[in-house]
């Protein structure tokens, strides 16, 4: 366990290195190289919770597009993280297993474009399997969409790979890890969006005063901070009481937070926030892309709601 001072210092270091990488090149490879230099894989192995919180928080805060999500998932699946091995992610908005007996269909990070091997998890949640496919056998397409810089790809595999049984609990905890990583990234991006809007409100003069003096503006930013801190707390709880349920709820909170923060901040930024000349838009784009990884907030809300009704039980999940 890393102490609070050490963690704050690491956050600064990682954020600085990623910001420099983004400034030099928007390519995922630059961010990956910066993380490798900082000892990301060693930290992930030794202190996975801190590693995920620090690195994904910084990825969100700087809008860097590293492929560290593959490392998190590979480690959770019990594989050695490698640059030439990428994981096929569930389709956008869902957490259904991407592999079927006819092949696989899903998403991937930019790592898939250069990897030799794709790792596929398929079957059903109670009886999952895991298999490897050669990347050159897959149909891979770079996604432009709302966030071309995110490096996302769609993956389609025509035939079923050679597979072996995977413990269902391992897949559940892999999804949980992925959700927490993505939610931390959304938290970082949300904090940056709020920071940009706050700076604008203090600097922008209208009616002879900074717009930060207007209560309507202040209240929007206050609500954005409430949403950010709620997500921060949800992720803290998901870390202290790790389970598929707490991770799912934290991911749902992340989706709601990103929406709230983006809505208020874009309104405060007003005209300039609707241009590509201001730094806001890449963060909005990134949160909209991340919303679809391992289940959207809407999909998770519906799923937990159905389970509450099916079991007629409302578990509190976290205690003092």
């Amino acid at each position: 366990m890393i102490d609070a001072d050490e963690r704050a210092q690491m956050q600064e270091t990682v954020r600085g290195a990623l910001a420099a990488a983004v400034a030099a090149s928007g390519e995922p490879a630059a961010a990956d190289a910066a993380l490798a230099k900082l000892g990301w894989l060693e930290l992930l192995r030794d202190e996975p919770d801190d590693a995920i919180a620090i690195v994904f928080g910084a990825l969100g805060a700087t809008n860097a597009a590293a492929t560290a999500l593959d490392d998190v998932l590979l480690a959770a699946l019990g594989r050695e993280p490698r640059a030439d091995l990428a994981v096929v992610l569930p389709r956008f908005g869902t957490w259904e297993l991407p592999g079927t007996d006819r092949g696989a269909e899903g998403l991937a990070t930019a790592r898939a474009a250069t990897a030799e091997t794709l790792l596929v998890v398929g079957g059903t949640a109670p009886e999952p399997w895991i298999g490897s496919a050669r990347r050159k056998d897959a149909e891979l397409r770079a996604v432009h969409g709302i966030d071309p810089a995110a490096g996302l790809h769609t993956v389609r595999l025509g035939g079923a790979p050679d597979v072996e049984r995977l413990d269902a609990a391992i897949w559940r905890s892999t999804v949980a890890r992925g959700r927490r990583a993505v939610a931390h990234q959304i938290l970082g991006a949300s904090r940056t969006m709020l920071g940009l809007a706050r700076t604008h409100a203090l600097e922008r003069i209208q009616f002879g005063r900074p717009i930060a003096r207007f209560q309507a503006v202040r209240h929007r930013l206050a609500d954005a901070l409430v949403a950010v801190e709620a997500l921060d707390a949800a992720l803290g709880a998901a870390r202290d009481e790790p389970s598929p349920d707490t991770a799912a709820l934290a991911k749902a909170v992340a989706g709601r937070t990103a929406h709230t923060v983006a809505r208020h901040c874009q309104q405060v930024l007003a005209g300039i926030g609707f241009t590509t000349e201001h730094a806001f838009h890449p963060f909005l784009r990134r949160t909209l892309a991340l919303e679809g990884l391992f289940g959207s907030a809407d999909a998770i809300v519906l799923d937990v709601g159905r389970r509450l009704l099916a079991t007629r039980q409302v578990p509190t999940l976290i205690e003092l």
């Binding site: 209240h219 409430v226 709620a230 949800a234």
Partner: protein, 385 residues
Amino acid sequence: MSSPPEPVTDLAHYRAALHAWLDAHHEELALRSEPPGTLDDRIAQMQHAKRVLFEAGWMQLGWPERVGGRGGSPMLRTELGAALAARDLADPGLFSLVEVLAPTLIDFAPPALAAEVVPRLLSGAELWCQGFSEPDAGSDLASLRCRAAPRGASTWVINGQKVWTSLAQYSDRCVLLTRTGPPESRHRGITAFFVDMDTPGISVRPIEMINGEQEFCEVFFDDVVVPADRILGEVDRGWAVAMSILPYERSSCFWQRVAYLYRRLQRLVDAAPDGGRTAEVVGEAYVQLFALRARSRATQHRLADTGTLGAETSIDKVLVATADQTLYDAVRRVLPEGIALDDGAAAEAWRREYLYSRAATIYGGTLEVQRNIIARRLLELGSDE
């Protein structure tokens, strides 16, 4: 398990022992079965539960020995309040007055007075109220005008009016804020008193709320004579007394409220018909409750670690108020006819609570005031003038 454990720091162990004891003594603790009854019923239920728990030694845990407590971390009482809320054994809106008012006496009353009266509050022998708000001093508490003036060397005379004083008509005592400085002295000229409600000159007029209950009152003070040894803290320093309440209200009381809201969502899920948009509606409330519970938990731990809380608890207040209304909005959406038409006892309870929940963004500092605090103190947006 027949008696509470010695004060422990291991919360998980304490919680397990507490729930085992509450399970074993449910019949003794509960005066009635669900649904929760009227305000009279709920007060009787709470005072009964406090008596039973005091006799068994649970109520004293987490309170200092100099006021008859048994010591241990204040988190022990947080757990107890939450456990009672989760079992509908004590309405946290009522029970939290203990958490708000006993620390005031412990920190600011003459030690002998605190030692005499705090056990009476804990044991359910008495109820106390909090006389803060006035007709012209709501969110702007520092503008209060209820006047206290010295008469002779050892008494003070109080004249004025309070309003929204919860449970005044049931109360034996009142923690009262008065103006002792010049009219414009704001937070610098306020003095706190501990007043017996049967003192001549005090009259109480209950106000009917939108849900038909009479929880709060107008309280009038007409030449009410109070001994000087009933001053809490120092003369003109009553603002510190008022502010000292905040950390308790925003930590322990909120955690109890969260437990209550989970209990309510459980009741809704028990009663909810399948189909329609029910799953989405209850799922959304559950997600919000999770974020609130996570935040409140972090706040409890920060208080235990650092001993203080500040402006950041305005975030907790916004979250608890919003989640409360989201939950009761969910009740209305899932059981619309229950809220609007049904005259059965269960629907009556839902309707009462639904209407009460509309005040969640008003009492204890409006949402607007919280946002002002967040903007100025946390976001450092500077003055709004």
